[in-house]
Amino acid sequence: MEQFINITLDLLVGFGETLKIFFVTLAFSLPLGLIIAFGSMSKFKPLAAITRAFVWVIRGTPLMLQLIAVYYGPGLIFGQMLLKATTAVYITFSINYACYFSEIYRGGIESIAKGQYEAGQVLGMTKSETFFKVILLQVVKRILAPMSNEVITLVKDTSLARVVTYYELIYFAQRYIKNAGLLWPLFYTAIYYLVFTALLTFFFGWLEKKLDYFKA
């Protein structure tokens, strides 16, 4: 029993490391995704083309490969590591998720009726006022379901960080195989992921209800 409690607490520390990736990635990728979305919708064709090509590369290659490239790449090219594992993980995850988010945003933004922009314009509102005061909340309401999918995927993708020596939950559990011959902690980690995704599911459900007062 004591062993169970100790391992539970130890894994909780590992899960804390997992959560760091999760929250830092969201903090950067949610706004960055909006910038990328604007880039890919730009009327300035070269910018739109470059942005879309970038999104294609990021979405078209494995996150694990990107992690390795960002962490070990500078070492291979310049003969010297530039980034700490933590920094490399944050950067790679943020950019990777921003690209996925940008496509969800773009779909949401393009689905809003032209009349909403036109109403803003004829009422003398600036383009940014119209976007932030009128369009954005309608977009949020529409993209909630695909966003919750991505966010839940992120919870589990964090386990990839260990390939660049970032010690997160799965790594913590695997140590028990090597050091104590215990296999069960590895499977026990599933509970942590499940509980956390349950919380996220509740949160998104609550948000959806919160925005239920209007139709868009």
């Binding site: 009726a113 009349g115 909403q116 036109e118 109403a119 803003g120 314009q121 004829v122 009422l123 003398g124 509102m125 600036t126 006022e129 005061k133 009128v134 909340l137 309608q138 309401k141 007062y213 209007f214 139709k215 868009a216």
Partner: protein, 253 residues
């Protein structure tokens, strides 16, 4: 006094010329109805006046000041006051769904006040909004959301919202075309009640009876030009052109 003058306004979409030189002037307080078949250019004219489309050439002059001028192949020149000289009520209402009725009215004036030094106070904006809601008969719906209103009520809110910016000229783009027949009456009554010596209105409409009753002047647009123009009596009772006669008799069937 002329509140509005339009000179030789032209608009092309690709190779298709939709407005082929529109000349028009309006006196303050005048109500103008624009009739004509779909695709004739009525709505495009209204959209050019509200700068939702940029006319390729021509001039728009409000109260003696040129607010928009364009020459073929050049970048149009638009004055900062141009946009708010005109107000527009859309066929599809286009209320902001996440805001309740009074917030829909107050949003744009609030943002404008924030942009200006010594802008209008929030209390003044609210007082004006409440007064306009009373004008359109929706005082008790102030805190309702657009999705809780009928089409007719939504359109009355949209009218009040446009009036909040006190435009020199208020335009209506087929304001009853997306309403059930039993709801058109309330909207038309509100528009009629707005008519006074100060308020200049341009109404694109398919409601011939309404155009006849409410307008001081009617123009018939066909193939991008003003085919016929006159008092409601002249246009509806003694149409001169073949096209207008055909248009009016088609509507009676």
């Amino acid at each position: 006094m002329k509140i509005l003058e339009i000179k030789n306004l032209r608009k092309r979409f690709g190779d298709i010329e939709v407005l082929k030189g529109i000349d028009l002037s309006l006196k303050k307080g005048e109500v103008l109805s624009i009739i004509g078949s779909s695709g004739g250019g009525k709505t495009t004219l209204l959209r050019c006046l509200n700068f939702l489309e940029k006319a390729n050439s021509g001039e728009i002059i409000v109260a003696g000041e040129t607010v928009y001028s364009a020459n073929e192949g050049e970048k149009p020149v638009m004055s900062p006051e141009a946009q708010l000289s005109f107000g527009l009520v859309f066929q599809q209402f286009n209320l902001f769904p996440q805001y309740n009725v009074i917030e829909n009215l107050m949003l744009a004036p609030k943002l404008r006040a924030k942009r200006q030094k010594n802008g209008e106070s929030l209390d003044d904006i609210r007082a004006r909004a409440e007064k306009l809601l009373a004008t359109v008969g929706l005082t008790e719906k102030a805190t309702a959301y657009p999705c809780q209103l009928s089409g007719g009520q939504q359109q009355r809110v949209a009218i009040a919202r446009a009036l909040m910016l006190s435009p020199d000229i208020l335009c209506f783009d087929e304001p009853t075309s997306s309403l059930d027949p039993e709801l058109t009456g309330e909207v038309l009554r509100v528009i009629r009640s707005l008519k006074d010596s100060e308020r200049t209105m341009i109404i694109v409409t398919h409601e011939m009876e309404f155009a006849r009753n409410v307008s001081d002047r009617v123009i018939f647009i066909s193939d991008g030009i003003i085919e016929e123009e006159g008092t409601p009596e002249e246009v509806f009772s003694s149409p001169r052109s073949e096209k207008l006669r055909a248009f009016l008799s088609a509507g009676e069937k």
